[in-house]
Subunit: 335 residues, 4 copies
């Protein structure tokens, strides 16, 4: 079927490629005309303006937005102005699900459908397929089924056979509920992702310290001595351990697959500085937990560690040093 894709960054462009591969007709647009030209060369139909883009679409028009969350709302409104009742806007970006709830209600008054699609798969999605978490009205979601079926991994990607009947879930895409439900599920997905990543990172950091007993340790009043150094004499090959865990252990996962590759290539991680960004979903997940009174100590610890890695605990830490000096005369060690 035909689909319009707006936003041809890393994610959007690859999704167009995966759709064309499977025979769909893609009309594409981006403010960067080179991105458009590149995909036209590969077989897409390009457009030079938003008006031209919408004009080239057959009714009901389906426009998939793959844009930064910060501008998605504004662009969706512009697109809507050019549409007619029955048309469909899809938001595949990392938007806050609350915006999808509000946007869908607004567009419904114009007869337009708003479908929010949480999309996971990263740079690997072109080949592995994208996991799609979908929210929106039934009719629109059903209409887009051929698109979802192509973008998703399809029947073979699962590690073990499915149990029970969960519709299209075993194919890698799922209609999760009304507008907002897709981004809500994707939000929690990313919250979990932070927690899982942090669990591996903390554990591997402990493995790295398994030879602490070999290192010289300063013996001053501001450094706690390592009382039993004989138990910390292991030089662990982090890459080999991550690799072995991939085979038959309880903690095997796709993130571990990537982690093993990373550590086997550069176990010192010398290309990275340790400033870990967060893209919003982890924050929103925590806010949802707080609103609904659900404890989420692991997910919040993972998020707060990222904040600390960004330098945001510095003032609090200075205050702790200041208190220690005030009550005990403790002089801070240099950093």
């Amino acid at each position: 079927m035909q689909i319009g894709m707006m936003g041809l960054g890393r994610m959007g462009a690859n999704m167009v490629r995966r759709l064309m591969r499977d025979g769909h007709e893609c009309v594409v647009y981006d403010i960067n005309s080179e991105s458009v030209a590149a995909l036209v060369k590969e077989g897409s139909i390009g457009a030079e303006s938003l008006e031209a883009f919408v004009g080239k679409l057959e009714k009901p028009r389906c426009v998939w937005l793959m844009l930064p969350a910060a501008i998605t709302g504004r662009v969706a409104a512009q697109v809507a102005d050019l549409m007619e009742p029955g048309d469909i806007i899809i938001d595949g970006g990392n938007s806050n699900y609350r915006d999808a709830v509000d946007q869908a209600a607004r567009l419904a008054t114009l007869g337009l459908s708003y479908v929010d699609v949480g999309t996971s798969g990263g740079v690997w999605g072109l080949d592995r397929g994208y996991c799609l978490m979908i929210g929106g009205p039934d009719t629109a979601v059903r209409h887009l089924d051929p698109i979802f079926a192509t973008l998703a991994p399809g029947p073979d990607a699962g590690a073990s056979p499915a149990v029970g009947d969960t519709g299209t879930a075993h194919l890698g895409y799922l209609h999760c509920g009304p507008s907002g439900a897709g981004h809500f599920v994707k939000m929690v997905h990313n919250g979990i992702e932070y927690g899982v990543m942090a669990a591996y990172a903390e554990g591997i950091n402990i493995l790295k310290a398994a030879n602490s007993g070999k290192r010289h340790r300063e013996a001053d009043a501001e450094t706690t001595p390592l009382s039993e150094p004989q138990y910390y004499q292991f030089d662990v090959d982090l890459g080999a351990v991550a690799e072995v865990w991939r085979h038959g252990s309880v903690i095997g996962s796709w993130l571990l697959d990537l982690t093993a590759d990373v550590l086997k290539t550069d176990s010192a991680l010398s290309k990275f500085g340790g400033r870990v960004s967060d893209s919003g979903e982890g924050r929103w997940t925590l806010k949802a937990a707080i609103d609904t009174g659900v404890p989420a100590p692991v997910l919040s610890s993972a998020l707060f560690d990222r904040f600390s890695s960004q330098g945001e605990s510095e003032f609090a830490d200075k205050l702790l040093s200041a208190m220690r000096y005030a009550f005990g005369g403790h002089i801070e060690k240099s950093k």
Copy 2:
């Protein structure tokens, strides 16, 4: 080759079966004679006493202990008394790696080798193979290679091809270092496992609360109102979501495979009460983090949640209620 297995519980018995399947000769012993009889029927050589068990082994004798951590040390000493220089004792249980360090040093003075093997795979290991994390002297570990190769998953189990040269890691077993290194790596493995499990559990608990806006909420001074119920109107099919995440998403894993199966079968988890045990490794992982000064907020949050699930936060919570009453006259809501 020949191996003696002592301790024929769920894990030990299945390991014997996997070894026999691949042509190894298994001499087996357990204080429960029925367990011995069952495996004899399947082709093992049984023994009626510890002396008989050790007596049936060829030199160098290899005795694999698959016992509860609490008795492994005592039994290892008894076995050692019946052995001769050059013999090997393997501890495949969930022992503290410190005991392995100490035990290996003691047995080395008798000319015996002690090999500690962290074993992951649970009830699935018989068919999937066991992930083996091995510590001990080179000669003994090399001698046991055929046994490890059989117990481990072998060449095909990984989800993606290996990068770099990590010895046998891609086959699912790894010599991690001297005595203690195997249990140390297994310990951290389980610490990570707790964190990963908790990340899924917290996230799915938030998904479950996505319909909080539909529920009636008491409006008293001791209950925080849900300020924007319109954003919590989703009835999420937890099993379907866990299933879709298995296909192409960043958080796919073997634990998620199991979680999806569980939720698809019984999304209310009615067979469980929520008292989560811990078997020691999570605790030891945290102690190692503390000794070496490595922050582990996610792993500790996961462990402490288990303690709370066992009722151990009750007194602290009563004290909080008591303080609230003391300063503000707040009356506790009934539980």
Copy 3:
């Protein structure tokens, strides 16, 4: 000076008493006419309706609302309808500071001032005085100074002399900034309160367990053995320890004073069940931390423990048990 007080619960009534004691004229109103009658007996001027209440006030009218957060906004709007430019509404309740920001902007268009006053002191405020954190326009805040000066503890309550010039802070009241600033500072105050309370509660819970080595411990595969019981043989008198900490230690505090009293009276805390409510500020504090990217692992741990005490971790814990059963065949111990 004259002040109108609406909302004569525990907090509001005591504030009226403290104001009258110091010679202020209090006009009082509550939907519960008995509460009005009681204070009239003590010297207040009562009113039978909102209209009568506002009608009895001299210009500029000053109405202090001491109401549950859930209804403050609605009542403030009703009061505003009866007012004239130059009049002042004060919100002394536990409202979200965002509501104060919005409300102040709305009322400013009517020529009214909105002053938000975070109030700490609980049931002890009548005698000790209330700590007041004030937000709002300068003129209105200055006009109310005699009221604030009376409600606050005044010059003698501090434990040590003040350093530097911080205006009225050493008297126990402070103009923190524009509308919303008072409730914002109070919000963070309560966030800190949760953390401080939890620190004491966790520590005292550890003290309580100091005799664990004396207790019989089940020896099954689902219970981690206590490896060195000889180090857990202390029967600690919790009340006496809390008392001694009040005298000269680094952790002396008013909350510890209360805690000591509680534990000395009933060290088993038999009157409490351990269901700890939260009143909103802790949640909002965390949301502010998340919005601004400030790590708050301690404050969030304290909040999430309260959620768990309310039973909200149950589903997550069931899921952990379900996973453990799925991969390892672990049977849950009964709760």
Copy 4:
């Protein structure tokens, strides 16, 4: 009465001064002879060697050790060699309570008493008095009562009258139980201290960020936008807020007194770098919590933040960045 003090650092020297002020005879020794000379000038009896030091004491000899934890055990053994049955050694340092348990058992076989005294009060103890948490045999503890009574704050230091009968607790010293109990209680005291300090530090860090809405925020894919900047427009005077909280609020404490002084003097904390040391007790508290299965999420979060401030989360954070690059092509922002 007479007491021997060995270890004349900041703490030891001040304790000698407080004892002399109250009429006790102090025999003093330190490997640094200048420290000895200084106190001799103030009225102490000095000694030039360990032998001379012990020789100058009357029976039963009472030797108080105020030394770094790392050397206390060795020195105690040397002192014991010079003693006779009935003599008493007191350890007032920050030793692990387990060492006290073991040491007491060893010395008991020689007829010596070992008394462990957890001492809180820091540089303020000379004037305020020290809070003493005491473990050891009854006879020895009773014999030392005049010393404890002098070192402790005494009858007037409490903020409110005592409830019930807790022996000497209201005077600021307490016999907590057998050998080890004093250091155990002190250990938990410091664990709580970390938590309380972190609660203030995190909260005040949030207050500092209350003007985030005024700051320019980069708008790139690696930075989460602040969605409602209008709610973060407050420039909070941190010193004034800390001061006002000291007067009548629920979170008043001695640590807050110190914090207010610090912030009023230098609200940017420009003299500190934010590397927060920990002296061991926080670690041991967590280990005790883990051993006994008591959840301590707040205390552990506080400890782990200190580890992070020491740079120990760096490798884990690099690993998170590496994973993000591996699955999503995310480029790390420079630190």
